[in-house]
Amino acid sequence: MEVRRVCAGYGRGRKYRRILTDVDFCLYKGEILGLVGESGCGKSTLSKTILGFVPVESGQVIHHTSRPQMVFQDPFSSLNPGKKVGWILEEPLRMQKIPAAARREKAEAMLAKVGLDKSFLNRRPGDLSGGQRQRVSIAISLIQGSRLILADEPVSALDVTIQRQIMELMLALQEELGLSYLFISHDLDVIYQMCDRVMVMQKGQVVEEGDVERIFEEPRHPYTRSLLAASLSYRL
């Protein structure tokens, strides 16, 4: 996927506020690209722009593979509370007019991939824990065969032990299916553990971009340095 000098924002006419300025990057096949920044820096707007929820003002987003899918931050609002997990998982397949038996089979297989057994098909999101919901969200993002996943703070709302499980699941799925992730997080340590490359974003602009080790060991931009200095890292 390529994002070419994209500017985007909200509002119409005079009320238009530009959020993203000249964002320009590539996400390669099989790569995990981290995106880090503080609240209001435009991380979420960027993912919405890539998905087409926010119109581009200038520049363009080029998808070389199928349309990307998304894993959301809040596992409590990203699943329809009124439907069963099976129904939700089957919905995209229903849109593709796949027959019922095949749908069910595929949904079951996908649940198994994310570590949930088929009894979850008949449960509602309200009966699931945060970690289980996030597993379902991942299953939904993969069921249409998309290989590019935007993950917007996918582990931020979870307890640390669950966080770790979801991170490991995402990494295992990446290797198995050759996925690419745009992994958005405010937690530098999570980014360090998960990503190959990282972009640092401030006020709608990417201020620094590079391999994870390089960014963490020798940050060049002052903002990156201040972020690293402020973040608490666990020391033995």
């Binding site: 096949k29 790569e31 963490f216 201040s226």
Partner: protein, 268 residues
């Protein structure tokens, strides 16, 4: 100064009663910063609320004692609680958006505990409030005094909360995830502020968090809770370097940190 022993809290609106906290014990000396760490459902917030007499109707303390400066907190009447809360023990919360009253000015909220617990007149209250605002790092306190919470950023609101909690000079402050909703740079500033206030006023802080990284940076001792039970307690340095309980080990292993990259092979 504070002595909690065998504290047990049950939810009694369900059958059988659900134990939210079981046999929790903790002692605190003046000026100490003690952490309580646990994941959701561990009972850490319940413990904090019990310490302020703010438990909901269905949650009952069924066993244990809480003694604060020689006073048995469990035998206090609602009136007596009001004298303790805000004056002796104060609290700050996670969500700076909702924990300040949106229709009252910053100044008014800073002064609230002085209004309730002292005989100071309006003028000296204002002077104290302005001095405290300066202390918690709010520049131009005169200007902010008449502002409303929505005009402030998250970090500034958290500073106001800390100021309002400390203005009455309490001996204990309960801080429930005070930095969780904040950005990293603001989080670092608020933690520094708490440490500074702790040095300055000798206010003891009971610091509740799910994040061991934060606990490590601010606390001297820590209790680790899991599903209402204390699995381990001791000096932060000891617990983190040589955890005894299985759960603590698991928790430590799960903390994201830069010594351990999960991504083994790299893609392109």
């Amino acid at each position: 100064m504070l002595e909690i022993s065998g504290l047990t809290i049950e939810f009694q609106d369900v059958k059988p009663p659900l134990r939210a906290v079981e046999d929790f014990s903790l002692s605190m000396e003046p000026g100490e910063i003690v952490g309580v760490v646990g994941e959701s459902g561990s009972g850490k917030t319940m413990t904090a609320l019990a310490l302020l007499g703010l438990l909901k109707r269905h949650a009952k303390i069924t066993a244990g004692t809480m003694v604060f400066k020689g006073k048995d907190l469990l035998s206090l009447t609602p009136r007596q609680w009001q004298d303790v809360r805000g004056k002796e023990i104060s609290m700050i919360f996670q969500e700076p958006m909702t924990s300040l009253n949106p229709v009252l000015t910053i100044g008014r909220q800073m002064e609230e505990s002085l209004r309730l617990h002292t005989n100071l007149d309006g003028k000296s209250r204002k002077a104290r409030a302005l001095a405290m605002m300066e202390q918690v790092g709010l520049s131009q306190p005169e200007k902010l005094y008449g502002c409303y919470p929505h005009q402030l950023s998250g970090g500034m609101r958290q500073r106001v909360m800390i100021g309002a909690a400390l203005v009455g000079n309490p001996s204990l402050m309960v801080a429930d995830e005070p930095t969780t909703a904040l950005d990293v740079t603001i989080q670092a500033q608020i933690l520094d502020l708490l440490k500074e206030m702790n040095r300055e006023y000798k206010t003891a802080i009971l610091f509740i968090s799910h994040d061991l990284r934060v606990i490590q940076s601010i606390c001297s001792r820590v209790a680790v809770m899991k599903q209402g039970q204390t699995v381990e307690a001791g000096l932060v340095a000891d617990v983190l370097s040589a955890p005894k309980a299985e759960y603590t080990k698991k928790l430590l292993a799960a903390i994201p940190h830069r010594g351990n990259r999960l991504r083994k092979k790299r893609g392109r």
